[in-house]
Symmetry: C2
Subunit: 387 residues, 2 copies
Amino acid sequence: MGHRAAIVGAGHTRFGVLDAGPRELLRTATRAAFESVDRGVEGREVGELFLTTIGFGGWQIGNVAAVLAEETGVVGVPTSRIENACASGGFGLRAAVRSVESGAADLALVVGLEKMTDLASPRRRYWLGVSGDTEWERAAGLTFAGVYGLIASRYLAEHGVGREALAEVAVKNHANGARNPNAQFQKVVARETVLGAPRVADPLGLYDCCPVSDGAAAVLVARAELARKYTDSPVYIDGVGAGSDHLAVQERPELTRFAASRRAADEALRSAGVDRSAISFLEVHDCFTIAELLAIEDLGFAAPGEAARLTLEGATRPDGRLPVNPDGGLKAKGHPIGATGVSQAYEAFLQLRGAAGPRQIPGAALALLHNVGGAGATAAVTICSGG
Amino acid sequence: MGHRAAIVGAGHTRFGVLDAGPRELLRTATRAAFESVDRGVEGREVGELFLTTIGFGGWQIGNVAAVLAEETGVVGVPTSRIENACASGGFGLRAAVRSVESGAADLALVVGLEKMTDLASPRRRYWLGVSGDTEWERAAGLTFAGVYGLIASRYLAEHGVGREALAEVAVKNHANGARNPNAQFQKVVARETVLGAPRVADPLGLYDCCPVSDGAAAVLVARAELARKYTDSPVYIDGVGAGSDHLAVQERPELTRFAASRRAADEALRSAGVDRSAISFLEVHDCFTIAELLAIEDLGFAAPGEAARLTLEGATRPDGRLPVNPDGGLKAKGHPIGATGVSQAYEAFLQLRGAAGPRQIPGAALALLHNVGGAGATAAVTICSGG
C-alpha cells in the first residue's frame, strides 16, 4: 500500500538503574537520534514533537511536552504528550505518522521516557498501579504482577501447558539481551534458574517479570517522500493500528486473549497491505513472560495455546522461523514505561538497516511492533519495512 | 482554504462543585453530544476517541483513555489521552481533526474532563502546580496565581494601566456567565466588588482568578464531507495551530507576551485562510483576568497594552466590536482543566448555529478558540465557521 512515513534517525539511552534525571535522558536519546541521521539534520527541520511518558513519580506530570521542546532546542513548535500507559510509545509513533502525513510537519520527533528507579517501593507500586484499573483492581490491592499471574494461571490450565514455556521466554529474551549493549540485563539465565526463582505472583516468578527501569528512546519520523534527503537507508512505516478494551480484566469475556492487540494488528497489517507470512520478526510487549505468549497468539502468528509450543521448539529465537524480541524485550532490555514503544522502533531501525550487530537477524525486511497499555486495555501496532 | 472537519454534535455538563464522579461526568457530556446530533448517530459510527485530562487527583492517571471507550460504549476502537496541561482540550481537537482528515475515522469523539473539587487544599495545590514548571517554579513555592501576578504587575507597569482594566475583564465575564446555564458562577459582579476583594497574588484579587471546577465537555468531529449526514447546521473546523514556549517563565525574553499563543494563532489563521478582521468572536484562555488581556494581544487583535483600553471601552462585551468569552470564560464558567479547550468548541458549536440563546452574538460566523497550557508553555488555536 506504499510507505506512510520514514524513520530517518533513532537514538536510545541505556535502560536500567541510571544516575541521569529525566531531562538528561530526554536530551541523550534525542541527541543520539539527531547524530544517527546519515546526511545530517538541523533542529529547525523538526516541525512537531511528541513526548510519550506517564510522568512516573510526578517530577513534571502536566505540560511535560514543553520540556521536550526545550531539551530538543526547538522551543516554539507544537509539542504534545500522548499517554496510554505502557502503550504510550506506540500511540506516539502513530501520532507522528499522522503529523507528517497531514503535511503539518516534514519531520517529527517522538521521544519516549520514564525515570522510575528513584522512588521508594510503596510510591513505585502506586505509580505502576495507576496504569491499570483503579476502581476494581488497584484499590483492591491487585498489582500488575497479580493480574498477569491470574492470566498465566488460566493460560496454563486452559492449554495444559507447564511453566517451562514461560521460562523459555525468559531464557530466550535474556540471551537476546546479552547481545544488546542498551539492555538492562545483559546476562544469560538458565531455565532452572528461572524455574527456581522466588514466586512473585503464582505462577510467575522473579524472572517472569520485567524490571523497573529508567531510560529514553527517540525516533525522527519524516514524510516518506523526504526520506532520502536524510539517508539512503530509511526504515519505512507502512501501517499503524490501534485498539482498546475494558480497563478492568473482570469486564472482559476471556482472560487469555487481548482483543485490543488483535484489532491493532489487523488494522496495521491491512493498512500496510502486508501478510503475516511476510513478517521477518516481532517486537512484542513482554512485560511478563505470559504476555509474550499472548501477543504471539493475539497478533495472529499462532493459534490459542500454540505460542507455548513454538517457544519451546525454539521458533522464536533469533535463528528460528519467527524471531521475537531480538533486543531482549521488556524482560531483559528493561521497561521504562513511556519509552518502550519508541524503543521497539529503534530496534526496527537497526534491524531493517542491517545494523543490529551481533543480534542482527539475517535478511530482516519487515517488522511488526506491538505495544500494550496496562493489562491490554490499549494496544498499538506498527509495521516497518527496510528501504 | 476549505473545511478540514466538522463539529456535528456537542455536549457539556454544568461546571462547578459537582457531586458526580469522573466517570459520570464523562458519560453525561458524551451522551449530551450524541443526543445533540440532529439526524441521530450510533456509537458504532465513532472510529476514534480522544480524552483530554490531566487526571487531577490521580483517580486514574494512566491509561484513562480506556475509561472513555467504556463510558462511550465503543470499547475496541483506538482511544488516546492527549495531555498538555490546561491546553489539553485544544490539542485534543487538533488530534481529532487529523484523525478524520487522515481517513482513519469518519467520526471522532473528543472529551475533556477534570474532577478537581474532591481534594483538600494542599493536594489541590500540588495538582494545579504540576502543570507549571516543577524544577524552578513549583518546587520553589511559586503557584499559578503567583506567576500570573508577576505577569500582571509587569503588564500594568509597562503600559501604565491600572487594576480597573483587569477588573473589567472579570465584570464582563461574570455578566456573560450569568447568561450561561452551565457556568459555575451565574451572577454579575460590580467593579467595586472585584477591586475590593482580598488579594490572592498582587495585583490579582479573588475575582481575577478562575475557580477550581469539576466538569466535562464533548464534541463529535466528522469528516467535513460527511457533515450533512448528521446535520444541516454543522460547525466547521477550518484551521488549527499550536505552539510552545519555555516551561519556566524565567527562561523567556519577555513576561507579558506568550509566544506560543502568537505562533498558534498565526498558523491557525493561515491554515484557515482567514483574516483577523473576519473573526466574529474570541474564546480565550482567561485563567486570570490578565491572561485575557495578553491573549487579545498575542492573538493579534490589539497592539501591546491596547487590550486594556479595548476592554475598558467595552469592545470585548457581547455587543462590542470584538466579543470575547461570551460563555463567561474560565473566569465565570469555570476551568475544569482538561475540559476547557473542548468547552470552547461547545460554545462555538452553539454560537455559530445561532443556538446560544440569551448570550447569542448576532451574526456570529467565525470563531477563534484559544487554549493555553500552564503559563503559556503550550497553546492551541482553532478556527471555526458556521455551516
